[in-house]
């Protein structure tokens, strides 16, 4: 080995060490604030519930059992825990619909921004991030004010004579969909924009030139190139909306329970921490499966620049 390459190896080794040193604070935070609590949650899910909340230090698989199954009080037969499963199903449905809606609204928005000139783009991006400045709870209550029976929207429509009676919107599925879409839209727009910004839009012209219609260009050129952004945005929206808690509660009126509310219930009034913990881990498992799907999709046949 020559002296030069030896020096190079030594330099590389030092470089690696420096990198580790620099990332130590972040790794520590992740260890203390994320991995540690997660292990505690996992541990709790295998313990027995205490009578006033908390846990008894005694191994029990009851919590996990109760997530999926329930025992009939009278004849001791086992049946699937439909109450829980339907909540899981409803949450997944809501997360799925939210992802779809943010995609439907976010895609044209991101496309619009990405095709502006550089200065205008910055202004639009700035506007997209403005909602982040206000607390989620406050924004959600503000939305409640807009759509309630005597709210802004109904008053406006009545004044304009478009409707003769206020439309009931608050505490409906529509309200939840609207709120969720509103809250998570930026999380979809930003990754979509990041993908679109890298597209050389001259290839769109090339597509038109080669007899692709507007839809053909969208389907065969833009969507495949934006795919990494679509997947990233979908994951970013799907995961938090699966555990959404505030929006279904405030805008849906808590009429239909979501996973987030169910977990909160177990740690609060339900006083069943192990069940809450098991539900949390189950929620995480769903997220993990979604992520796995993402990783497999992203590594397979994505565009080279993505």
């Amino acid at each position: 080995m020559s002296a030069a390459s030896e020096a190079e190896t030594r330099f590389e080794r030092e470089d690696t060490r420096r990198r580790w040193l620099l990332s130590t604070p972040a790794l520590l935070i992740i260890l203390v604030a994320a991995v540690g609590p997660l292990l505690v949650v996992l541990l709790y899910s295998f313990l027995a519930p205490g009578s006033y909340g908390d846990v008894r230090w005694q191994f029990s698989s009851d919590a996990w059992f109760n997530v999926f199954l329930e025992r009939d009080i009278f004849d001791d037969t086992l049946a699937p825990a439909w109450a829980h499963l339907s909540i899981f199903w409803r949450s997944m449905k809501l997360a799925f619909i939210t992802t779809l809606l943010t995609l439907v609204f976010g895609f044209p928005t991101a496309y619009f921004i990405a095709t502006r000139d550089e200065r205008t783009r910055e202004i639009w991006l700035f506007l997209i991030t403005i909602p982040f400045w206000t607390n989620l709870l406050i924004r959600t209550f503000a939305l409640q004010e807009v759509i309630r029976q005597e709210g802004l929207l109904n008053t406006l429509l009545l004044k304009l004579g478009l409707i003769s009676q206020p439309i009931p919107m608050l505490f409906t599925d529509f309200a939840i969909g609207l709120g969720m879409t509103y809250v998570y839209l930026p999380l979809m727009v930003l990754p979509l924009y990041a993908s679109m910004e890298r597209i050389d839009f001259r290839i769109v012209e090339a597509g038109y030139d080669l007899y692709a219609s507007r839809f053909g260009v969208l389907r065969r050129i833009i969507v495949p190139l934006v795919k990494p952004g679509i997947i990233a945005g979908s994951i970013l929206v799907f995961i938090p909306s699966l555990g959404a808690y505030v929006t279904p509660r405030v805008l849906g009126g808590g009429k239909s329970m979501m996973l987030g509310n169910l977990i909160e219930l177990q740690f609060g009034q339900g006083r069943n921490w192990p069940l809450g913990a098991a539900l949390s881990i189950a929620l995480m498992a769903i997220v993990m499966i979604a992520l796995l799907f993402y990783v497999r999709n992203a590594s397979r046949g994505g565009p080279t620049h993505g």
């Binding site: 290839i203 012209e205 090339a206 038109y208 030139d209 080669l210 053909g216 065969r220 080279t304």
Partner: protein, 389 residues
């Protein structure tokens, strides 16, 4: 694609044409018109700030022709190409393709394809998928698309790279893919927007002859945009010289070079000496010009051009020779620049005008002059001509 026989015929007739004129007269091609641009204007922006990219341009491009739009950047040549492609729409005027007005049609409804300056290849597709895209969009059956893609790959000599991604091939290869992709759907007209400008000198030379070969082999009308006058002169059947949104002259390369319509064309194409003078009597398209130094110079006039008073004479540097004694003009050698194949001698004439003489270099000898020598300039018969100003 026309039949092989048609291709041959065309080649032959064109060859004959070249033999006949050999730099004298171009017989009009009897061919049909491919593209007719009629009174086209294009304005960007509105009101006072509107920028007129094209100003009442009319030009006819014949079928099976290698036609070049030549001009400096910002002259409107790319705008004209984009109007023909359909990426922009004219503010005024018509664009006829085989007698049908295509100006209002979107690009995907025009049988015209483009080779982009940046190539604009689809980064998420392989070389083969790129080439097949147009045919696929036209709804051709799979087997036909595949056969055509293979044929195109052979045409541009890229068979081995069919399944490569476009990011894994060199610039020259990307250029070939862009060409094959645009040629695959057999367009009526192929538009090329400065396609060689990103290549280095050697590769550019190679692609120039490649393009010429493709054009004769496919028999497709090529409209080629460039700012490189050498490229235009070597490749084109006809050239349109553009400046500031107008077409100044349309003609065969030799016409553009030897009979420039005005000062801009003369200056833009090749190197030229401009000499101010006063015209004498005109007879048979010839006259004698009195230069400011008092020297008298025989000069030709463009057909049908009847000027009066002062005029500008143009002389190409290679139509003049530097000699020791005598000559049409006298002066002093100011500078000598060696170019390998030839040497440029800059002569400061007695009337203080600068005149460049280009002399072919002979083996192992310099040009025989040194800076400061008194020198005469002999101008070849018909070497001087009166410019329309």
């Amino acid at each position: 694609m026309p039949s092989a026989a048609g291709c041959d015929d065309n080649q032959r007739s064109r060859q004959k044409e070249r033999d006949v004129f050999s730099g004298v007269i171009v017989p009009e091609k009897p061919d049909r018109n491919a593209i007719e641009v009629r009174g086209v204007s294009k304005r960007f922006g509105i009101g006072e700030n509107a920028f007129k990219a094209l100003d009442n341009v009319s030009v006819t491009i014949r079928e099976n022709e290698f036609f070049t739009l030549l001009g400096p950047s910002g002259c409107g040549k790319t705008t004209l190409l984009r109007l023909i492609a359909g990426f922009d729409f004219p503010t005024e005027g018509q664009i006829m393709l085989h007698g049908q007005d295509i100006a209002p049609l979107p690009p995907f409804k025009r049988p015209v394809n483009t080779v982009f300056q940046s190539y604009a290849l689809f980064p998420h597709m392989t070389v083969g998928q790129n080439i097949g895209f147009g045919l696929e969009m036209l709804g051709k059956p799979k087997a036909e698309v595949k056969a055509r893609v293979d044929q195109m790959l052979r045409l541009v000599r890229m068979e081995a790279l069919k399944d490569r991604r476009t990011s894994q091939i060199s610039g020259g290869q990307q250029q070939r893919v862009a060409l094959a992709r645009a040629l695959a759907p057999s367009p009526k007209v192929l538009l090329l927007d400065e396609p060689l400008s990103a290549l280095d000198y050697k590769l550019r030379k190679e692609m120039q002859s490649e393009l010429k070969r493709l054009q004769t082999e496919t028999g497709i009308t090529f409209i080629f945009v460039t700012h490189d006058q050498e490229e235009a002169l070597t490749m084109s059947d006809r050239i349109a010289v553009m400046s500031a949104g107008k077409i100044l002259q349309v003609g065969a390369p030799w016409e553009i070079y030897d009979r420039p319509a005005d000062r801009f064309v003369a200056d833009f194409i090749g190197e030229t000496n401009f000499l101010p003078g006063t015209l004498g009597a005109i007879e048979n398209g010839r006259t004698t010009v009195t230069l400011s130094s008092g020297a008298m110079l025989p000069a030709t006039l463009a057909e049908g051009y009847v000027p009066n008073g002062p005029a500008t004479i143009v002389v190409r540097p290679e139509h003049a020779r530097a000699i020791r004694e005598g000559g049409d003009l006298r002066g002093q050698v100011e500078n000598i620049v060696y170019f390998g194949t030839d040497t440029h001698i800059h002569v400061r004439l007695d009337d203080r005008n600068l005149f460049t003489v280009r002399q072919q270099n002979s083996r192992s000898r310099d040009c025989g002059f040194v800076v400061g020598d008194a020198v005469g300039v002999a101008i070849a018969p018909d070497g001087a001509q009166v410019l329309k100003d």
